[in-house]
């Protein structure tokens, strides 16, 4: 049988614009009877192995995030199915952790308490605090566990979010453009930390949605490029250049040019 960690089979997503007649409609009966329908993802097939770091690239609005949310179980495809470890995905799971694009730390909890939310299985509160400190140290955040999220910079918040995600000991980590709201320098730092985390926890499979080609080149084992909507998998590339990588180096230069080409950019290089 198939031993892939994640199998995405013929996943199709369409948005149906309802015509506003919501009165007394229950469930999904109303869908696709009327109203126009727009196909977002069309027949997506993927195989991802355990421990891979896979980046999904594509134009904005091509359905990258939608695909990620489907694999993570937050939404359902119109057709097709996703299997993780052979089991059909039917909802979010505690070991499939999603790091959101915008801040999703609970603003009413301190950073330490936020990370501790993922450590609720640890009964002893002191031990929990200690562990949340350790996870924060993993992303180079120290001495802020008693601060509230609004007291930190965007980069620190995103770090804390990654710490919370790691504290949940994810089997799969989903990252939806986690660094897109940050300044360039912070992004470079966080890339390094991601790489470090992936080396520290090699068994964690990471699915990383981005539109930053250098980010994808520097971090991932594999790149998946989606076409414009209705999106299909346009191409899949394995990157076997050892870390640490320089996205501007010759090893990656050709691949980089190809990716730009695939994304319809011909003059950037």
């Amino acid at each position: 049988m198939n031993t892939s960690k994640i199998r995405v089979d013929q996943v199709t997503v369409e948005y149906t614009k309802s015509n506003g007649r919501k009165w007394l409609s229950f469930g999904n009966h109303r869908k696709r009877k009327d109203g126009e329908c727009r196909v977002v993802l069309h027949d997506i097939n993927l195989r991802i192995e355990g421990g891979e770091f896979v980046s999904i690239l594509g134009h904005s609005g091509c359905g990258k995030s939608t695909l990620l949310k489907i694999i993570a179980g937050f939404s359902r495809p119109a057709a097709g199915e996703v299997r993780i470890d052979g089991r059909k995905v039917d909802g979010p799971r505690p070991d499939h952790v999603f790091v959101f694009q915008e801040g999703a730390l609970f603003p009413w909890l301190t950073i330490g308490e936020n990370v501790a939310m993922a450590l609720r299985s640890v009964a002893d509160s002191k031990e929990r605090l200690q562990q949340s400190r350790e996870y924060l140290a993993l992303v180079a955040l120290e001495g802020v566990e008693n601060d509230y999220p609004h007291m930190l910079s965007g980069g620190m918040r995103q770090r804390a979010e990654i710490a919370r995600a790691m504290a949940a000991r994810p089997d799969i980590l989903f990252m939806d453009e986690p660094f897109s709201g940050l300044d360039h320098l912070t992004r470079l730092h966080l890339r390094e930390e991601m790489l470090y985390l992936h080396i520290m926890l090699p068994q964690t499979t990471i699915l990383f949605v981005t539109h930053d080609i250098d980010e994808a080149l520097q971090l991932s084992n594999r790149l998946i490029i989606l076409s414009e909507p209705p999106a299909r998998v346009k191409c899949c590339r394995t990157i076997d250049v050892p870390h640490p990588r320089n996205p501007a180096s010759d090893d990656l230069g050709e691949l980089r040019a190809q990716i730009y080409h695939h994304l319809g950019v011909h003059t950037a290089l």
């Binding site: 909802g91 799971r93 505690p94 999603f98 009413w108 909890l109 509230y148 609004h150 949940a168």
Partner: protein, 232 residues
């Protein structure tokens, strides 16, 4: 001179001097204190009752859009009816004494609290629920670690507004059916043509309203809700 008439008053309106002496008289003989305590007691009881029912119900309705769609027309139907319109029913159901006053205050505070807490919980960003699903929060954890703290700033604002309304309504409620409270003092003063007593009662009501609001503003500055001010 105009200031002289303010000081000494006119035939109809008592002057400052008389108001001051009445204020002194009423506060030293304990009448004012007794009425104030009676009013505060009624406000507290009616208000807490409203909080205890409206806030949980509102938070629940805010998360259950479908049920809310059914309930909301009734709420919007009842809401514009002035609490004072309930006075005859309050007396019919609860007779004479404190209980009709509790009921009037309850009605006055209930709807603003219900609507604000519904809005507060309905407007919680869905991303927090996705995080909650991801972290596998239990139903109970979802309520007390997510819905309650996330709705708290909205709830506190509603408490502040509705406490003001309760305090306003208690006077009206005391104009019927009871023999104590600041509202009674006003009615009694009016009947006895003692406008100075009426003004003393009004001054007391205003002062206590201000103090209550100061307490509520304090609440808004608590650590648990401060994030709302600074959260982008």
């Amino acid at each position: 001179m105009w200031w002289l008439s303010i000081w000494n008053g006119t035939e109809q309106v008592p002057g400052l001097r008389q108001i001051a002496s009445s204020l002194y008289e009423l506060s030293t003989n304990g009448v004012l204190l007794r009425h104030t305590v009676a009013s505060l007691f009624r406000v507290t009881a009616g208000f807490y009752l409203a909080v205890a029912l409206a806030v949980p119900l509102g938070l629940f309705l805010g998360r259950q859009a479908r049920i809310n769609r059914l309930v909301n027309p009734f709420v919007q139907f009842l809401r514009p009816i002035s609490p004072l319109a309930w006075v005859p029913f309050a007396m019919l159901w609860f007779g004479i004494g404190d209980r009709p006053a509790f009921f009037i205050i309850f009605i006055a505070a209930f709807f603003p609290l219900l609507i604000s807490s519904t809005t507060a919980s309905a407007s919680i960003h869905p991303i927090y629920f996705q995080v909650a699903a991801n972290l596998h929060l239990t139903k109970w954890e979802r309520i007390h670690r997510l819905v309650l703290p996330a709705g708290m700033p909205g709830i506190i604002l509603a408490l502040r507004v509705s406490l003001g309304i309760s305090w306003m309504v208690v006077v009206a409620a005391e104009m019927i059916a009871v023999k104590s409270g600041l509202g009674y003092l006003i009615i009694d003063g009016r009947n006895a043509l003692r406008l100075d007593f009426v003004i003393v009662a009004m001054l007391t009501i205003g002062t206590i309203g201000l103090l209550l609001d100061l307490c509520m503003t304090r609440l808004e500055k608590m650590e648990a809700v401060r994030w709302r001010l600074e959260h982008k």
